[in-house]
């Protein structure tokens, strides 16, 4: 009887020691991890985020809870993210260049800078695209620019929001085709663009590939150019701005996961490994590609460098946008 008690006691002690040892070395994660999305539930960042969370939590060993902190074009969520403890239990999506322009526009009075984030891994890169209604008089990118030169400030060009990647793309186009001036109309997202274009209230949309792939395939709308250096795998027939002689019109929107600044290396390493594995998973790849979303996995340093480069590029156009009389 005594010996049994001793055995149990030793067993318990060993188990305890093991747990404590664990806690010292690699306690992370011992409770659920929150993954913040700076947009409301149901948007494309949110859906892609939920897909990766569902796969990653299997190898993380703890649930990953998606928390939506939508509002103010993402600013509410990012403010929340940088205020968290950098212990790896609260990470979130940053959307470049939207995150950059919020920082760069002094009117936004953001409480964070580019240095307040620890980039962990990028998930999606969605190139920009310029499209018109199928019956539009603009058959090519050149037609569009010629039109905007001939009668400046009459062609109504829609963004998906102020200082979004699409807004910067219009400015890039005006820069690359001197004399072309668009009448910029800021709409809320891709659905609004589609509606107003179909109704004839807007002439041309600056958008991202993911939202319109299927409509281009079905012939409802016509793509004029993908704003990238190489063709999109979803739209192999659509020429790029580089091919068309406008190599400076390059625009995209990326979504990746970051944490607050100052995250410890062991935690970061674990998150990178788990998230990379989940993003490489065929289920993840398939689910994203059916939505027309291109994967671009960039881990750690590479992603940090991308963040810094995007920030530099966005700086010039943000200042430009602010100096225009009507922006």
């Amino acid at each position: 009887m005594m010996s049994r008690i001793v055995t149990v006691a030793i067993g318990t002690a060993l188990a305890l020691a093991a747990t404590i040892g664990d806690a010292g070395a690699q306690a992370f994660p011992n409770r659920p991890v929150q993954l913040m999305v700076a947009y409301p539930a149901g948007g494309s960042t949110d859906i892609a985020g939920r897909i990766v969370a569902a796969i990653a939590e299997k190898s993380l060993g703890q649930p990953i809870v998606v928390v939506n902190k939508g509002g103010a074009g993402g600013q509410v969520g990012w403010t929340e993210l940088v205020r968290q403890k950098p212990d790896g239990y609260y990470i979130g999506f940053i959307n470049l260049p939207a995150t950059n322009t919020v920082i760069l526009d002094p009117d936004r009075k953001a409480i964070f800078t580019e240095k307040d984030f620890t980039p962990i891994i990028n998930q999606v890169l969605d190139p920009g695209i310029i499209w018109v209604r199928a019956d539009s008089p603009f058959k090519t990118l050149q037609d569009l620019f010629d039109g905007a030169k001939k009668s400046p400030n009459t062609i109504r060009a829609a963004t998906t929001g102020i200082l979004s990647d699409d807004h910067l793309a219009i400015l890039m186009a005006e820069e690359a085709a001197p004399g072309a001036i668009f009448r910029i109309v800021h709409l809320e997202g891709g659905a609004a663009q589609l509606k107003e274009i179909m109704a004839g209230n807007i002439d041309v949309a600056f958008d991202n590939v993911g939202g319109v792939v299927r409509r281009i395939a079905s012939g409802e709308v016509r793509a004029l150019a993908v704003m990238d250096t190489e063709r999109s795998k979803f739209l192999p027939d659509v020429a790029t701005t580089k091919e068309l002689g406008y190599p400076t019109i390059l625009s995209n929107s990326t979504r990746g996961i970051a944490g607050p600044k100052g995250m410890p290396e062991p935690v970061l390493g674990k998150l990178r490994e788990v998230l990379k594995k989940a993003m490489d998973d065929p289920e993840h790849v398939n689910k994203l590609e059916t939505q027309g979303l291109g994967l671009k996995i960039m881990v750690g340093e590479e992603y940090a460098k991308y963040f810094a480069d995007t920030h530099e590029r966005a700086k010039k156009y943000t200042e430009w946008a602010r100096s225009r009389s009507h922006r």
């Binding site: 539930a41 509002g71 103010a72 403010t79 109309v185 107003e196 689910k287």
Partner: protein, 498 residues
């Protein structure tokens, strides 16, 4: 037409399979729960449940998600009637008369007529979807930002002209609502306004915490003043409306269906506006407008019918044009896309089997909701027999959880409490709350559509007068305002307004 009928029959057969029926049932139950929880609205609720449907086939997944959606539209009514807390935004207006009915012991009737009205509205809208969808949806597209602006103005004029003791108090409260709606990041230029540097205010003052405060918390404060209020006695036998109530409700249900259906066709209107329009129209055509806000059954029947007719009609722009007309519909569209389908004119041609099965399931879902809800009405009504000191603690807890769950934000709980106190004060000094709420809801829409219109015209205001539809709507707005100035009912009648 014969073709359509055949498709529909095939769709009904597919939707009637045991598997799809159970998806619709599960969806209705989950949806009702989402609707009952304040804070968790249909958009967020549907989005969170999307992963649940990953493993289903597309037809099953879409049937279930659509059922969640209109289940939620009904569920919100229950708390509006029982405890004066709207479960979701489209049920705000139901508080005005629904809760008054409950106080008079007619809570069961209110829930009953809401279920029946929702059923009729939903079914008629679905039939209309089958018959007249494509041409109507094209027509609705002619509602661009300028027309939208004018329409919102009509709505605002309608309600300010009708609520309150005078046009002046109505206008003051509407402007107050518009001012509160200004808080947050400017929707066009992106500059923060009236945020006092508080990040939580960058997104504006949340609409749901505000209405939960103005209605739910204010009601608790008022009742606590008279703590020994008599327990509400609802006779369980009186679930079904009496003959007289039926007579008054039928017209309301018919008008609610029409209003919900037509507003559902216009992308961007959202679920709230049809309920307000239906309520206001009902009050205007009523021979006894003084009864509104005092438990008029038409005041429950019309908006509840309108919101379900809207919910079903809003599928038309999605299925025919591929344009999501509200956040919830956008989530549903996301679900279509994840399942490899893009809603739009081509979907009807490529996958008629799936589209028609989903349409058929709308009808089945509406029947199911009615069957599900009528027996439960008795159960819910029983809640009203609890002594109020328990109910009020429960209500407050429920409000706090609801406000928090909206964005997982403690700040929203604070907003709710502050607006609870404001709502209490407004009731004490007898200022109308309805125009304030409408100003708050319409504010962002009005601002956005006004400024987008001006962006379209390069700053030229003539855009509002050169588009015929827009001009007509603006004239209607003026007529409504002038009309309510000229035809003011005697003050004692107008006093009744909520």
């Amino acid at each position: 037409m014969v073709d359509t009928f055949q498709h529909l029959l095939a769709g009904l057969t597919a939707a009637m399979s045991l598997q799809n029926l159970s998806f619709a049932l599960i969806g209705c139950i989950l949806g009702t729960l989402i609707g009952v929880l304040p804070g968790l609205g249909p958009a967020a609720g549907t989005a969170i449940l999307i992963p649940l449907t990953f493993k289903l086939d597309p037809t099953g997944a879409l049937i279930m998600l659509s059922a969640i959606y209109y289940g939620a539209m009904y569920g919100g009514t229950i708390t509006s009637v029982l405890i004066n807390v709207p479960g979701e935004a489209a049920s705000v207006i139901t508080c005005f008369d629904g809760y008054q009915m409950a106080k008079q012991g007619r809570g069961g009737t209110a829930l009953g007529i809401a279920a029946i009205g929702s059923f009729i509205g939903g079914i008629v809208a679905t039939i209309a979807l089958i018959v007249v969808a494509p041409p109507l949806a094209r027509l609705a597209l002619s509602f661009g930002p300028p027309e939208f602006f004018a329409l919102m103005l009509v709505g605002l004029c309608l309600i300010t002209g009708l609520a309150g003791q005078s046009l002046l108090t109505g206008l003051v409260m509407a402007v107050l609502g518009l001012l509160i709606a200004m808080v947050g990041i400017d929707p066009v230029r992106g500059a923060p306004r009236f945020t006092l540097g508080i990040p939580s205010l960058y997104d504006g003052v949340g609409f749901i915490p505000v209405v939960m405060g103005l209605f739910g918390v204010a009601e608790i404060l008022l009742t606590v003043e008279a703590p020994y209020r008599e327990v509400i006695k609802t006779k369980l036998t009186s679930l079904l409306p009496s003959r007289a109530e039926w007579r008054r409700s039928l017209g309301a249900i018919a008008r609610g269906t029409g209003i919900g259906f037509f507003l559902g066709l216009i992308p961007g209107v959202g679920a709230i506006i049809p309920t307000f329009v239906a309520y206001v129209v009902e009050k205007r055509v009523s021979k006894t407008p003084e009864k509104f806000g005092q438990g008029a059954i038409e005041g429950v029947a019309a908006p509840e019918t309108a919101n379900n007719a809207y919910a079903n009609a809003a599928m038309i722009p999605l299925l025919t044009l591929g344009i999501p007309s509200s956040p919830t519909i956008a989530v549903l569209m996301g679900a279509f896309i994840i399942n490899g389908l893009t809603p739009g004119p081509f979907l009807f041609k490529e996958r008629p089997d799936l589209v028609w099965a989903v349409i058929a399931s709308f009808m089945i879902g509406n029947v199911m909701l009615l069957i599900l809800n009528l027996p439960f009405v008795g159960l819910w009504a029983r809640l009203l027999r609890l002594p109020y000191q328990y109910v009020c603690v429960g209500t407050l807890l429920f409000c706090v959880i609801g406000a928090y769950s909206l964005q997982q934000s403690v700040f929203d709980i604070g907003v709710m409490i502050v607006f609870g106190i404001i709502g209490y004060a407004l009731r004490k000094i007898d200022l109308p709350i309805a125009p304030l709420v409408l100003g708050l809801i319409l504010g962002p829409f009005i601002e956005k559509s006004l400024r987008t219109s001006l962006e379209m015209s390069g700053g030229d205001f003539s855009i509002f007068f050169t588009r015929p539809l827009c001009l007509v709507l603006l004239l209607v707005a003026i007529a409504v305002l002038v009309g309510s100035l000229l035809r003011l009912p005697p003050p004692e009648v107008r006093k009744s307004s909520a």
